[in-house]
């Protein structure tokens, strides 16, 4: 057996979530005393591919060409499953990203494999069991799932496993898979990427605003703080429902679940549904004028105060800190 990791690229580059997934997959390979192969699909240059060796990949299978330059769910799933078959992989690791969440179930069916998406920790292997801790009830709990199939597919939540540099090197091999025409029924018409914004699901810092901001015209403060910190911006459900911010920024039980190192909530009271989506953040800062806001019960640091007074001061303090750093 071996372990296979799908290294998803964004515009030809690997993001931190890929290095986390490679590090995680390396640890599983070590648990089983086996090798780790990465498969990359799309046009990624040789140096970028070889960089996966630094995090423990022994080999990189490179699938390139115009047909597969952009993500096509069905075709990519076929490639990953074929790579797993070629390598005799018993464990396939993906990132629990938007694309990964579409791929994992299809790869699972192709390989007759149990799928644990939303994985947040290394598997515990004991006497034939393969137990994975995964998110459940939108962050209000975790479920421990035993994957009983011969092959297992795991989708790892970004920011839930640390990047570990092993300093190794990987051998890069070209790999090709015969794709079916039916794999390309879904046609990409347009890709719109806002390159200047930090992506919310894998952001290390998130600055989030709620109804306490009073209106979309006041979001400049949230954006300024986020930019200073290299953070993504987010919002609570009432804010996206009111159309102040796009749905893609809504964090919570019925929005995006995030697990950044730092979550700064401004003017959000902390309804149970919002807390569910942010509870796995490592550090939570809450700024709210209501000292009874439920968010303070789960916060690490809190400021009781009006967002309109506190935010400008916080922005100034961050600027000062950055100037002196």
């Amino acid at each position: 057996m071996s372990v296979l990791i799908y290294a998803e690229n964004t515009g030809g580059k690997f993001k931190k979530s890929v290095f986390e997934a490679v590090s995680y997959a390396r640890a599983i390979a070590d648990q089983n005393n086996t090798s780790l192969t990465a498969v990359s699909i799309g046009n990624v240059d040789a140096a970028e591919l070889a960089s996966l060796g630094k995090y423990g990949a022994n080999k990189v299978l490179n699938v390139s060409g115009d047909k597969l330059k952009d993500f096509v769910n069905q075709a990519y799933a076929s490639v990953i499953a074929e790579a797993a078959k070629k390598e005799g992989s018993a464990v396939v690791v993906l990132s629990n990203t938007f694309s990964g969440r579409g791929l994992a179930p299809r790869v699972g069916v192709k390989l007759d494999a149990g799928v644990a998406d939303g994985a947040v920790a290394l598997p515990v292997q004991d006497g034939g069991s393969f137990k994975i801790k995964k998110t459940a009830f939108s962050g209000k709990a975790f479920a421990i799932v035993d994957l009983t199939s011969a092959i297992k597919v795991i989708a790892l939540v970004p920011n839930s496993y640390k990047v570990v540099e092993t300093g190794g090197t990987a051998q890069v091999e070209d790999f090709s898979v015969e794709t079916k025409a039916s794999d390309f029924k879904a046609m990409i018409k347009e890709i719109v990427r806002s390159t200047d914004k930090v992506s919310l699901p894998d952001a290390e810092i998130v600055v989030s605003g709620g109804r306490g901001l009073k209106g979309p015209e006041n979001w400049g403060m949230i954006e300024e703080l986020a930019e200073l910190l290299g953070a993504a911006t987010a919002c609570s459900k009432p804010v996206s429902d009111a159309g102040w911010r796009p749905h893609s920024e809504h964090v919570g039980q019925t929005g995006i679940a995030v697990s950044p190192n730092l979550y700064i909530a401004v003017g959000i009271s902390g309804a149970i549904q919002h807390l569910a989506g942010v509870s796995s953040s490592k550090v939570i800062v809450v700024i709210n004028k209501d000292p009874e806001a439920p968010f303070f019960k789960v916060a690490d640091y809190g400021i009781v105060g009006d967002a309109f007074e506190v935010l400008p001061k916080l922005i100034a303090a961050v600027k000062e800190y950055k100037a002196s750093a």
Binding site: G102, P105, S138, A141, S240, H247, T254, A316, E320
Partner: protein
């Protein structure tokens, strides 16, 4: 157009989650179950697409008899008819397999699911259905416009969006933005009682996963309050104590 909407019966979003039997069972005591919020979005869009006699909307649920209140709610919102596959849903693979078997003998132009269920947060059923039925699938869509032979969907990608055209039939998981959930009116509630609800027995299927136990997140310590006029202190603590900036 014939649309199938796959629905789950999940604990209400305000539920405080607890477990019994040494953290091996979800405690359903006092928990109200609802139609999964993302499935409500799928249902709302399906009803919009077939509005004015342009097609039918069938809802399907894999569940025991106690899920019928949720299925009736979907009918009250406006689904044409419903199917319940009479089984306790074991995992996503089990659910997808049962639905795929049904669809093989009852084809649809469009199959919608919610992007995920709010209990186990898997977003697997759409992709698994696509693979089992050899159809295209898009797991998380933000927009769905339907034309005669194909639909245009918008899917979220890291840091942006992607626009795709897909010929029918295909499977899609819907997220916020696709439609506003609909509230059933009195006429809908009355008619839901008499709309057809077919109960189908499950097929045998192997299982690939088992939930062994549950854990709740570790409790956080006491909040450290910082005076509103001392934001520099917060920045210092985030740097020196929490080490996150």
């Amino acid at each position: 157009m014939k649309i199938l909407v796959c629905v789950s019966n999940v604990p209400d979003t305000t539920t405080k989650i607890t477990f019994t039997d040494n953290n091996t069972q979800f405690n359903t005591n006092g928990v109200q179950f609802i139609l999964n919020p993302y499935d409500e979005i799928a249902l709302a869009r399906a009803i919009e697409l077939t509005d004015g006699g342009k097609g039918t909307v069938t809802v399907i649920n894999v569940g025991e008899a106690n899920t019928e209140a949720t299925i009736r709610k979907a009918l009250a919102i406006g689904a044409t008819d419903a199917v319940r596959i009479n089984a306790k849903p074991h995992d996503a693979w089990y659910v997808a397999y049962q639905i795929a078997q049904y669809v093989k003998s009852n084809p649809f132009d469009l199959i919608l699911t919610g992007r995920e269920s709010i209990d186990y947060n898997g977003s697997k059923v759409a992709g698994m259905l696509g693979e089992l039925l050899d159809l295209p699938s898009v797991s998380i869509i933000k927009k769905l416009d339907a034309a005669d032979t194909e639909a245009t969907v918008e899917r979220e990608i890291e840091g942006g969006k992607e626009v795709l055209t897909i010929p029918y039939p295909f499977v899609a998981g819907t997220a916020e933005g696709v439609a506003e959930p609909k509230i059933p009116n009195m006429r809908g509630i009355m008619s839901a009682r008499t709309k057809p609800l077919t109960v189908v027995e499950p097929v045998e299927v192997k299982t690939f996963s088992e939930i062994i136990s549950y854990e709740t997140p570790a409790p956080r310590g006491q909040v450290k309050l910082i005076p509103a006029d001392d934001t520099a202190k917060l920045v210092e603590l985030l740097h020196t104590e929490a080490r996150v900036i």
